[in-house]
Symmetry: C2
């Protein structure tokens, strides 16, 4: 039985905690959060500001903080001998981050699985598999429509934003537009906030528009979807997923946590993990 | 550059040979077949009755013979230090065969990837991944309509059958019916042949019917399809593939061959292989 701590208690952290509790091979040993108070619904679970405040060191930590905050937290955990997983979602930064976290993991003699959500994550495995069998094919990943957790967190972090929701709208052939619903902080400057959002790395690649609203409540919905569509002249492959975004992310993180314990010291992408290692049970029945 | 031999020169063998020739990291060093004569379209490629007749021992062998003939051939190759892959497709015999071939592989200090087609194979990875994230979900694999290579080979091997095609027809929720078009050998007994087909392990699980025809030509078509459909109360995942059956099988076999060279001695299912190892190129762009 592996003792697992959850770092962060937002939507993903709470979903990951539930997935740990549903796992026959893991027990939830605590939450790490800035405000040291019980997480609603998990009143009996210890809460600490640091993983090192628990009476027993956890075996593994599932990092459920916004992507931009992941690396320093994860590096410290790994260097101190705690296995880790994250759902870091900035695709172009995955490779350099893996190199750095591999060094941290080797110092602590443990492993990490990074980018372990559904995209990057499940989708990455599907795309890799498709690319292996139709190497000359065209492949598109189409998201949504649905609220993006990564983009929502990025918009909320912009100076002057009190609350935000970022919705991804598929425009076909792997292109997307994004609509950001934002609540302004008191006295914040609309133009400066709009510029702050649109110039963020999360938004600069796509056509985006910002709408200022009084409340994001009508736009907050955790359901999301993806459609991977690939073909060459002879073959056609597609993968479609409709999910509850934080629940699916939490479950994948827990599956990746399980796999991390079986890897040699280092940091890994999900595509570098034998898929059977994600399963709690013997998965030969799925052959 | 790995030297690869193809065992068998049927539809899959020829497709695998083409996939080897398309691979930047492999060269086709020969075909193994009973009749020692050139394979049409591959006149410059050496042909031998045994892999040990080639001037240089191949690094790997792709076994493209009917499933029931695979194991003794593969065991001998492995014990003699040749890496191997097969697309063995009798699901319930995969686990015991893996145990036996693992021993052979360890004797020869090499590796094998078994059941490396599209089902078992690609679909097995998709099912395993789905089971990891919706463990309480329902999942169905629906094939076709299309000609099954394994079932066609099994029907052709029945005493009294001159030629055959077995078509898989999806009946929904993972159930199938099968229609076997068979050409009788001269003086063969219809009833005995029909019984011979229907009592074969390939056919006994499904509702099957046999129709005797003068030629299977109108029914021979290498296009096939699969639809994996899974859901729980919150999530819905599906994988759809329309393929040319031998081409897709040949390509997956070559991808698995590449991965076999990276495994420790032993026999493996595709679900035990890191997906990135199937790719000839750096697959980080698919993250």
């Amino acid at each position: 039985m592996k003792k697992i701590a959850i770092v962060g208690a937002g939507n993903v952290g709470i979903s990951a905690a539930k997935a740990v509790m549903d796992s026959p091979d893991m027990e939830l040993c605590g939450f790490i959060r800035r405000k040291e108070k019980a997480v609603p619904g998990f009143e009996k679970i210890p809460v600490a500001e640091s993983v090192f405040d628990f009476s027993k060191k956890p075996d593994g930590a599932i990092i459920c903080v916004p992507s931009k905050s992941v690396e320093p937290i994860e590096a410290k955990l790994l260097e101190n001998g705690i296995y880790s997983v994250d759902a870091f979602d900035i695709h172009e930064e995955l490779s350099p981050m893996k190199k750095r976290l591999s060094e941290s993991a080797k110092i602590g003699n443990v492993s990490a699985v990074i980018g372990a959500g559904w995209d990057p994550g499940i989708d990455s495995i599907v795309r890799t598999l498709i690319s292996a069998v139709i190497p000359e094919g065209k492949m598109f990943t189409n998201f949504g429509p649905g609220m993006s957790m990564g983009h929502t967190a990025a918009a909320k972090a912009v100076f002057g934003v009190a609350d935000a929701v970022s919705v991804t709208i598929p425009a076909g052939n792997g292109k997307h537009t994004r609509k950001i619903y934002a609540v302004l902080e008191k006295n914040a400057d609309k133009n400066a906030v709009e510029h702050g959002i649109l110039s963020d790395g999360y938004f600069e690649h796509d056509e985006c528009s910002v709408e200022f609203v009084d409340s994001v409540k009508p736009f907050f919905n955790t359901r999301h979807a993806v459609f991977i569509d690939a073909a060459d002249g002879t073959h056609k492959l597609s993968f479609r997923m409709e999910n509850d975004n934080p629940i699916m992310t939490g479950r994948m993180l827990v599956s990746a946590m399980r796999a991390a314990f079986l890897q040699k010291p280092g940091a890994y992408f999900m595509t570098e993990i034998p898929p059977c290692n994600f399963c709690a049970e013997n998965c030969e029945k799925y052959l």
